[in-house]
Amino acid sequence: MSYWNYRIWKIVIVILVSVLVGWSIVYDNVLIPVPAMTVGIVVMWFLKKGVKEATLDERVFSVADKAAMFVFRIFILLASMAATTIFSLDRDNINLEQAGLTLAFSACILAMFYYLAFIYYNRKYGG
């Protein structure tokens, strides 16, 4: 299978799974979403195995690493700034306080997981 055909099938599968999940949400069906997404992932995995050309290489991973690091830094910075701003606005507003707490804890948890992952990969690669 060519990479172009794989991309077309990927779009079709994503649309099908999205339709099923959307239908499940509308009709309050809890049994459909997880199996539908699981089957979609498995089907795409088999399709990708049949692709003759290389779809991932070191350059793609390098770009993904740079993009992830950029998003991580921006998110930590913006979430921290937003959380402190929200906390200083109106302490009596429960919704604002919850939003601020969510942002603050998200930034902290993300930073903590990044730190743990950094320690792991640093040791793995001779640090």
């Binding site: 050309e53 290389a54 779809t55 991932l56 290489d57 070191e58 350059r59 793609v60 390098s62």
Partner: protein, 72 residues
């Protein structure tokens, strides 16, 4: 003062010299994507040592014939 260094390549020239090999063929031989070959030829990406060796092996030449190290 440390001067910036630069790694250039002759991939495009070597492709034409080897029976007008397409980017797709070279990507298949080197085990990378065609987009990576395009990025290499445009000088936008510096490959790892492993990929550099694979590309040189695909052409059947030494590493120095494919990649050159230049100092400004």
């Amino acid at each position: 003062m440390i001067r910036p260094n630069r790694i250039s390549n002759r991939i495009r020239r070597l492709r034409f010299d080897h029976g007008e090999m397409t980017q797709e063929e070279l990507a298949a031989r080197a085990g990378c994507t065609r987009q990576t070959i395009i990025a290499l030829e445009q000088g936008k990406y510096v490959p790892s040592i492993e990929l550099a060796f694979k590309i040189a092996h695909a052409f059947g030449v030494s590493l120095e014939e494919v990649f050159q190290y230049e100092e400004y």
